[in-house]
Amino acid sequence: MVGQRPDVATARDLALDYDFGERASKLRSRLREMIAAEIPAGYLGAFTDDPADLHIAQHFCRRLAEEGLLTVSWPEEYGGGGGSVWEQTVVREEMWSHHEPRGAQYMGLNWVGPAIMAFGTDAQKQRFLPPIAAGEVIWCQGFSEPDAGSDLASLTTRAEPDGEGLRITGQKIWTSYAEMAQWCVLAARVGVPGANGAKKHEGITIFLVPMNREGITVRPIRSMLGPHHLNECFFDSVPVEADEVLGGVGQGWNVIRRALAHERVGIARYARCDRLMSQYTGKADGWRALPAGLRQQWVRALVQIRVARLLAYRAVAEQEAGQPRDATASVARLAVTQCDQQVAELLFQAIEDRSLEGSDTGVESKAAPNPAGSSTAAIPERPPFTDKPLSVKGGRQRSHAFLDGAIEDHWRYAQAATVAAGTIEIQRMIVARALLGTRSS
């Protein structure tokens, strides 16, 4: 199958054809090789209490950039690989299944860069795109506010004229990676909402703001997701210049819609479910140790993962055809996020009370904290990542702890799946409106 059968030449000419093709299959193989070589065992993402994990992600981004794989999905005119939507899908699947070794940079690569390509001035493109392509910069997204979550168009952060420029005042919330980001894509309102009969999304403007600018304060929010994921950002009369507007004053809603549409199919959550289940049953006693009742749930979950993946592929196919439908992306997101949570619960049942031990893999980093380290800096010495069966000889062996930790980490993250990037209630509304042939007012 996909990713495992690069030699399915006989299937290439079939009318229905789910083979990704040779280029995408080679890409998948190369990404797995690089992950195996560069990412240590026990890596569960860049946002742990161990600063070395951020360093690992930054290093990996630079390695990808060196091989031209960081921007494989970008158009060639912007220095990218001009990869097809299916190659982009391969990247999403491999990155998410391996705990997103690009760390926070996926946001800049997946949608900030493409949004700047679509809406930015030539000067903005020249300034912002090369650092993203080189794997050197982290962006965060300042959209949600305490009183503007699903109803994002109600945001109240305001940008008011001040001489030649503007000053931004307001509060953002749920801002991932704000503590480590160098730049923020910030949504703020220019003018009075609803003035002169304007709709509330009119006036919203996107600003590209450096996070070290005076007047910005970041406060971490403690959560079950762990450190660095959720933050509050306070903007106290932060000065911005006219050339820091993306897409024109009052045109921010178009940028946001593009960003949210990308996010809906952006995370291949099914791929991590797939890999964790494979790792679990790949253990010497993994499958046989499962109670019979759990085995039936297990195969149902395998089917669910397959269906979620296929629905995501449908959204990708519409994207390829140049006719993406909001409802298709929402259907995919509903399936993928709920699958994520159900698989998380199933894996928790499999590891039973070991789920309470936490995601600490028990491996001590030997590298000094160095989030801004260069590509030549030493990375932590940990065992290489492996998809080979993990042996369990009794007790809480290290290899066992890796997987238990990954499962525990997955469960916590999965709880956010149905909320992040638009709740599933919003997705249901989008789907229902499409079904009923009505339009959002």
């Binding site: 229905l16 395998l302 993962i305 449908r314 509304m429 009923l436």
Partner: protein
């Protein structure tokens, strides 16, 4: 990657739906249920399906033909066509006997009374020739189900036919599922309560959305599974069982939603959704229902593995 069905298959399905709708659509099921003789099913429906060219379709040949067969099965499900379309499509190429999957302990098939001889296979894989015993059940949920009895020895069967039968039956279930959702959408748009259409209520909208996710997912899985049967036939049984499991679970959920949104009307045979919900039951229960399907899938995944992004199953020697 190509997620689309061949144009010929899509056109064939559209032609079939137009012809069968003109012949009576769901009323064919109502009429056939009232008739004690099989004339409507054989003479009217059977001839109509043959005249569409179904008797020339062998879904074993290639994926294009299989897709056309799948579309015919889907259309049959949409209209609750009272005819064993899957069994006839998988008729034996030599003796032309229709093919049915039957339970281990009871040999029975939907529309078993229509043909004097059948080729039947049990889930274990053995097959036999069988003949009908007595008349059709005439029950609400199995109006055309008929007991059969083997006339000879049980022998080995072609696994590909078992996988294709499970797959094409799932396409038929897909048709019933998607049509029931369409009927529910129509109904909630027309039915006014508390001064507004039922579709204005968010609780109703959310049920429709969840049903659409189920139906869309089942459609994608039907397409994918057909491809898998030709791309990797050795693992076909696991793929077909996975599809059947999802088809049965999805159909039960979506039909329940569709009937519920119809209110009491959903229980009345004047409304198509009621006929669809009753007549799909043999497809959901024969040769086995959801739980047994998942047990069979566990065994198949253990033995054959399960194609995915990472290795799954395939652990038993």
């Amino acid at each position: 990657m190509n997620l689309e069905l061949p144009d010929e298959a899509v056109q064939f399905g559209a032609t079939a739906e137009k012809a069968l709708t003109a012949l009576g659509g769901v009323d064919l099921a109502r009429d056939a249920e009232r008739e004690r003789e099989p004339d409507i099913r054989l003479a009217k429906v059977g001839n109509a399906i043959d005249s569409l060219g179904a008797d020339q379709l062998d879904p074993r040949v290639d994926i294009e033909t299989a897709a056309a067969a799948g579309e015919l099965c889907r259309v049959a499900g949409r209209l609750a066509i009272p005819y064993p379309v899957v069994a006839v499509l998988l008729r034996d190429p030599v003796d032309l006997l229709p093919f049915a999957l039957v339970p281990d302990d009871r040999c029975r098939a939907d529309h078993g009374d229509l043909f004097s001889e059948w080729r039947v296979a049990a889930p274990g894989g053995q097959q036999a020739v069988a003949m009908p015993v007595g008349s059709r059940f005439g029950s609400k949920l199995g109006p055309f189900v008929t007991d059969l009895t083997p006339t000879g020895e049980w022998q080995g069967t072609a696994p590909g036919d078992v996988a294709l039968h499970l797959t094409l039956t799932s396409w038929r279930i897909l048709g019933t599922t998607e049509r029931s959702l369409e009927l529910a959408i129509d109904h909630v748009g027309e039915r006014v309560q508390f001064g507004q259409p039922l579709s204005a209520f968010q609780a109703v909208q959310f049920q429709l959305a969840d049903a659409a996710v189920g139906t869309d997912g089942l459609r994608e899985l039907c397409h994918f599974t057909l491809w898998r049967l030709f791309a990797d036939p050795d693992a076909g049984l696991a793929d077909a069982l996975a599809l059947r499991l999802h088809a049965v679970d999805t159909a039960r959920a979506v039909l329940r939603t569709s009937q519920q949104l119809h209110g009491a009307a959903g229980l009345c045979d004047e409304y198509d959704v009621s006929v669809l919900a009753r007549h799909v039951q043999p497809d959901l229960r024969l040769p086995f229902g959801s739980e047994r399907t998942s047990a069979e899938l566990v065994e198949a995944v253990s033995r054959l593995g399960f194609a995915s992004l990472f290795p799954q199953g395939g652990l038993d020697p």
